[in-house]
């Protein structure tokens, strides 16, 4: 393992009762080098996350996705313990669900890190004390009159069918893997050799990450070969004719 910087916050001891939500749990698990998913006490994970002691109710989609994943892990674990062969092809639906879970995790991770930043800020800002002595001035002037129409509008807004929650402002920042795959294939259609650095020049880090995923996926499918002569150097992408 080289070049994989594990953030400090993730280097804390693993304690299963600390998890506050599915992403917290998963991110911590999958970003820790030393935790092999096979070694996890799965029952404890599920209990800690969904049991009576859990801090927040998970939303049903996420809980479903996660339980499917954990179930697959449990089955695998059983097979390994029984010494069975485990090299059959996974169910494509399960793989797709995991892709989506991975995308959500990657999208959520920044907020989890931002929360840690906030915690540090709170600690650093805890010392100063404010005076806050009320000033007690002159009798305030009567406040400006308000428009009664605002009352009608406020009530009306309560009884409008709410639109489905939109994550448009988040999706804007999300990059779709199929789009990136298509872009990669288009690029390979015009040149047989590509530079990864060239491919992601001017793109943000999320896009860079997804492009890397897409590149690896194409390599796995045998559509391209990759070489990286220098550690951390540019990756040469070569289309397989």
């Amino acid at each position: 393992m080289t070049g994989m910087a594990v953030p400090d916050a993730l280097a804390q001891p693993l304690s299963l009762d600390l998890f506050e939500g599915p992403f917290d749990l998963l991110l911590t698990l999958v970003l820790r080098e030393e935790v092999d998913l096979l070694d996890l006490p799965l029952l404890e994970v599920v209990e800690g996350a969904l049991g009576a002691e859990a801090g927040e109710r998970w939303d049903s989609d996420t809980a479903g996705e996660l339980i499917v994943l954990l179930a697959a892990m449990a089955e695998l674990k059983a097979r390994v313990l029984l010494g069975e062969e485990t090299d059959e092809e996974p169910d494509p639906d399960a793989l797709e669900a995991r892709e989506m879970l991975a995308a959500r995790l990657v999208a959520y991770a920044p907020f989890q890190r931002a929360a840690r930043w906030l915690r540090e800020r709170a600690a650093a800002s805890a010392g100063p004390r404010y005076r806050r002595v009320p000033m007690g001035g002159a009798t305030p002037r009567p406040p400006a009159p308000l428009d009664p129409g605002a009352l009608r509008d406020a009530l009306a807004a309560l009884f409008v069918e709410a639109p489905a929650p939109s994550l448009a402002h988040i999706d804007r920042r999300r990059v779709s893997i199929p789009d990136v795959l298509a872009r990669l294939r288009r690029a390979l259609g015009t040149a047989r050799d590509l530079s990864f650095d060239e491919l992601v020049r001017g793109r943000d880090r999320l896009e860079e990450a997804i492009t890397l995923m897409a590149t690896l996926e194409l390599a796995r499918r045998g559509e391209i070969t990759l070489s990286q002569p220098q550690e951390f150097g540019d990756i040469a992408i070569t289309g397989v004719a």
Partner: protein, 204 residues
Amino acid sequence: MSDAALARAVEALLFLSPSPLAVVDLCEVLQEPPGPVQRALQEVVARHGEEGGLEVVEIAGGWAMRTRADLAEVCDRLRDRPEDERISPAALETLAVVAYLEPIGRPEIGRLRGVAVDSTVNSLVERGLIEEAGRPQGGGAMRYRTTRAFQERFGLRHAGDLPALEDFELSGEEAERVRRQLLDAGHIGAAPAAPGEGDGHGGE
């Protein structure tokens, strides 16, 4: 008003005001343009250096005079201070989501966090760290934003005084590892390194 006179007045106003004063508030009360008021603020900041017990800082959308952090203990002996309630990790993550995406409604927060956030949002409202910010036009779920108390508690100079969210994104390697771990979790050995597969970049 001369610069020196303005600095004296600014010092007095910051002392009196129970909440931070924005530059526009100071300009209004002092009946002076922003330029001289800014200069006066800088002079008052400089006057209260580390050798004193007070400091003048930009916080929560304005300027405030407050005691220096290292004197917290002696200050609390004078004036009992309710212990700052601990903010749970769940509440902190919800705060982070609201701070970066405000105004934002519960359904969106919940979808993003993967949990039902009703009780967490309620408790943050009760604690004054977030507040209602109106419903979207045409109706829909109430949206929330962070408050001045939030900015004060976390030492932010104004709304949005946060590091760029991009700075917190997973690196390409980490993102790939998340995906890999999840994909591989249920089928070890299903995708061993095919010939030519270059995961060298991922550090695996």
